[in-house]
Subunit: 204 residues, 2 copies
């Protein structure tokens, strides 16, 4: 049973590492529910007030999930590049209006699964239930860690932790986006980078 195209192979291969791997039948069902979608740089996949109706799997490109505060400033909650899932899970599962935005930072190609189709998969194959619960657990943990870091760790250490934990994000994201993730201004991030560079030169 061959899968139709390479992006669809990608999705099912995603669940190889750290999840319950799919068998041929499950992979096929997943592939059948996935829809391809192309998004231009700057285009929104979700806006505040809308109900988030899909989970997205990035085939190529880069997305960010962000919220806008009362002062109009954007704060990044999450990124997703190739081989990563993204959704506003709270809005998606509860079917309630979202408080965040999802935007393409580059020209991006995604596979999307709708809420109804995903529930269908959950009912037909228990494994998806488990895999997506692991997904939400991981996001929960990640969120808890970030909250702790943001109230207990200075920006310089947070930046170092970010580089260590998400090197693949750091490598391709503009510093303005990283700053909006760390909760600091681009100017201050620039200063941190300068200080780290000089500290590194002194102690190589």
């Amino acid at each position: 049973m061959k899968l139709p195209t390479s992006p669809l192979q990608l999705v099912s291969h995603y669940f190889q590492r750290g999840y319950f791997p799919l068998n041929a039948q499950e992979a096929e069902a997943l592939a059948a529910y996935c829809t391809r979608r192309q998004i231009k740089r700057r285009q929104l996949l979700l806006q505040t007030g809308e109900i988030c109706r899909h989970v997205y799997f990035v085939v190529a490109g880069c997305l960010r999930l962000y919220a806008v505060d009362t002062g109009g400033k954007a704060h990044n909650l999450q990124f997703a590049v190739e081989n990563e899932w993204l959704s506003d899970l709270a809005s998606f599962y509860a079917e309630q209006p979202s408080g965040v935005f999802i935007e393409a930072l580059e020209s991006t190609s995604v596979l999307q699964i709708s809420h109804d189709d995903l529930l269908d998969l959950f009912v037909r194959f228990h494994k998806f239930d488990r895999n997506f619960r692991i997904l939400i657990e991981r996001q929960y943990l990640q969120l808890q860690d970030r909250l702790l870091q943001s109230i207990s760790t200075p920006a310089e250490a947070r930046y170092r932790a970010f580089l260590a934990q998400y090197p693949h994000w750091a490598a391709r994201l503009p510093n303005t986006q990283i700053a909006a993730y760390l909760g600091i201004t681009p100017e201050f991030l620039s200063k941190i980078r300068r200080d780290q560079a000089s500290a590194h030169r002194r102690q190589p």
Copy 2:
């Protein structure tokens, strides 16, 4: 079908507001799985490194869930008073070592359900599955909101928001605990309170 004691009635009544209410059979099953437990002030229900094996429902008293940073300072992630659930959900569901502590801030009486028993309830009654998923969704949302607030809102506004959103917590918690929740020092909270009081006197 009468429930044996008043605390057990409490638990099933919890699901009346905003959840899927239980019928007599479900309430009885829930009651059958609940174990009563008494904790003294300062006593720990969970320590870092342990797997969190129970969800707790507070009958009387007050719990906090907190993490300790590398500098040894405690940061409160959540409180629970009468009629509220508390657990390290990430550790509980994934059955992985926890990174947080749960401690009684007062002499506290809880009902606890073990992981296995809860899964049993999930299988026997679909409604528990849904109710506990709503629970984790709400916690997820709450966590996301707090993260946003902590990186976008000054301490004074965060304190006001806390008072507005959790008046029942604010009324009984010492300010040291509230400060550790807001991510500020008790000294600075004291200053905020003084400033707010004088601003209020000027503009009643």
